[in-house]
Amino acid sequence: GGGNDTSAADDGGSDTTVSTGTAFKIGVIGPLTGGAAIYGTCVANSAQIAVDEINALGGDIQFELLPAADDVNDAETSVNAYNSLMDKGMQILVGTVTTQPALSVVPLTYDDRVFTLTPSASGDDVIENNDNVFQICFTDSNQGSRSAQYINEHFPDAKIGIIYKNDEQYSIGIRDNFKAEADARGMDIVYEGTFAEANQTDFNVQLTAAQSAGADLLFLPIYYTPASAILTQANALGYKPTFFGVDGMDGILTADNFDASLAEGVYLLTPFSADAEDEMTQNFVTKYQEAYGGTPNQFGADAYDAIYTLYQAIQAAGVTADMATEDICDALIEVMPTISVTGLTSAGSEMTWDANGAVSKDPTAVIIENGTYVTP
Amino acid sequence: MNKKFEKGKMVPVPSHSIIPERDIDKSPILECRHLGIDFGGLRAVNDFNLTIGRTEIAGLIGPNGAGKTTIFNLLTKVYQPTRGTILLDGLDTSGKTTAQINRMGIARTFQNIRLFNNLSVEDNVKVGLHNQEHYSALTGVLRLPWYWSREKAAHDRAMELLSIFGMEHLADHAAGSLPYGAQRRLEIVRALATNPSLLLLDEPAAGMNPSETAELMENIVKIRDTFQIAVMLIEHDMKLVMNICEGICVLNFGQVIAKGTAEEIQSNPAVIEAYLGKQKEA
């Protein structure tokens, strides 16, 4: 632990206290309630783990993680959440968790000159028209075109079906880029079906249609909750195409009571696997399970990496917590393109950033075999 | 005499009239010809013919379920007639809506009181004045001078009308909170506010005690005299009907069984049998 000042970091299970003035006040915004709560809570918890680790190092750089602010995955509430964090003196924002709220919050952080590092808001627009926003996750366009490329290379004759969520930017963004790339490569897309927040548990019609259109590879640029329903229902229909997911698919093996055998042979592009053998992942997953129960998903891993990235950037920039927020911001913007970070989600290599804020790490495809991710 | 009112027979005006002598020089205010309506299989009203003079007080009586209220509903287009025509002041009313009928000159009260319960007594009357004191919604929102002058006129007129029944002091009360009798009177005032030429009253004395009824009788006559309008009323209180109705039409099973003056009706055996019973009084 750091000093013995009374400004307790938060109520999130931290045993560290930090001295006033030397700790960077970091805010997290994400959905803690509502339908997307699972992503937000995982981010908040994982960030806490990373912050505790860094504070425990006892170095000059200490973090104070403000209580995570709930945005219910809603653009309007996220602005309120942001303002409430600003009232609490937030200097750096790790957030938001999802794209739509990010689009509302990012212009504000830009105006306020608050350095922003989003773990998982992957929309291309999130880092457009600003200099202070950086992503840990890869952008939707990146994933979409990479997926198309991979499928084209490994399944050249695939008849492709796509099921995506038509009221979520993440899903649409990946699908649009996938389609553009696929069209450019002359790939054969035989079916496209959509669903919305309101009916994201029933896919019988889409699956029947995909099946009768002869799709033998289903591209699913969606999160794992609806994906688990798709796998279950496809199985019930006796429809067995190759499923190909993106990073949102990560977590499917840990979904409560999900019959993991259904996910056998599913491909996905993911930077993170909770059962990877490396020490870093094991450490993170164990801590997470101890503190919060359950297995963290890729959102959490991104958040964990975000905190460490921040740590490294602050070191590189040599900023201190007593500096003005905008100075911290400018300094960090300066150094971001220069640092390289190894993390849970960098797939063994290093992450670097361009000046625009996009991360460069290669989305790698894995296949689920015997309940674990394997590089095919 | 009775032969004149034989049902189903087309006879020139004003011989349908219950008392043809009244307003003999003027055309009748209301003429119903072969009016009828069915509810499913039930012929609620059939071949109803009636003519009412300009300033006549007419009574419509008959056993319960005879179709009296239904006739009011037909006249005011709450129900669309299955058969027949209604002429108001010589104009055909077919295809008109209830609201249009009111603007043409028929106002009514209801057997089950229908007031605007949450509005004040004064506002109830002002709603009745809706088409009398006219200004547009925009004028109202912008409160142009015209708004003020019309509102003042409406207020004055409402108070004047309420004074017929001496109800000015109740102006601020919510209509729904009034005693039953006062509610019935308010309904009449509201109907009068629409400036009708024919006023239909459905059981105006129901729920009133005899002294209140006596007062009501006077007021109905007073209303006819001051406004020079025709009044048609449904009532089971024979004292009221026999005393103020100049002509009475008796209905049974949707058919007219008798028309005439009070004396004629009271001595008509068919009416006694179907409706009056062995009368002791009135």
Partner: protein, 236 residues
């Protein structure tokens, strides 16, 4: 003789309105007792308080020697007290026959069908319309139905709230005839009427209610003869 119904010193409020102010009266078994009074005097309120739909803040109501205070309305019916409410309040979307059956809700099995027949003989019109939806009946027909329905519970005390309202003269006579018949058959009746003349002439005793208070009482004949009553309620 023990009164079948004994009301003493009840006070009923509608929010801030004090509608019944210390009313006391009693009904003896086999009697017809009538409450008369102008509009808004509190007659209906009194009946509703007895049948448990409204509650008195003070006093007591005893029926067959048992206190009714605090007993919910549905249990009071089961004790043999039925009310024909003002404004009929029949079940508009049920058929005529279903309405009558609802009247016998507290009873089981025996005699319901006979009673149904009895009601139909009292009111042949209801027989004709037994399958009609009650909401489309005429006013008078509905009144008959409401009375018939109350009779179906075979009440020991029947409370009638303005049963003649809106009825054709011939039916008014009939209604009073029925009241007389019921009375002869041993039913005790508490009658509220605007038609004071008719009510007082069949009543054993009557009470006059004015703005929530009982102002006079006496036998039916006494009240009929009283000049004040004549002026105020008989349109004399």
């Amino acid at each position: 003789m023990e009164p079948i119904l004994k009301v003493s010193d009840i006070n009923v409020y509608y929010g801030a309105i004090h509608a019944i102010k210390g009313v006391s009266f009693e009904v003896n078994p086999g009697e017809i007792v009538t409450l008369i009074g102008a509009n808004g005097a509190g007659k209906s309120t009194t009946l509703q308080t007895i049948s448990g739909l409204l509650h008195s803040r003070t006093g007591s109501i005893e029926f067959l020697g048992e206190s009714l205070m605090g007993i919910p309305a549905h249990k009071i019916v089961a004790k043999g007290l039925a009310q024909v409410p003002e404004g009929r309040r029949i079940f508009l979307q049920m058929t005529v026959e279903e309405n009558l059956q609802m009247g016998a809700y507290t009873r089981s099995g025996a005699g319901i069908d006979q009673d149904l027949e009895k009601v139909y003989t009292h009111f042949p019109r209801l027989m004709e319309r037994r399958r009609q939806i009650a909401g489309t009946l005429s006013g008078g027909e509905q009144q008959m139905l409401a009375m018939g329905r109350a009779l179906m519970s075979r009440p020991k005390l029947l409370m009638l709230d303005e049963p003649s309202m809106g009825l054709a003269p011939i039916l008014v006579e009939q209604i009073f005839e029925i009241i007389r018949t019921l009375h002869k058959a041993g039913t005790t009746i508490l009658l509220v009427e605007q038609n004071a003349q008719a009510a007082l002439s069949i009543a054993d005793r009557g009470y006059v209610l004015e703005t929530g208070r009982i102002v006079t009482s006496g036998t039916g004949q006494e009240l009929l003869a009283s000049p004040e009553i004549k002026r105020a309620y008989l349109g004399g």
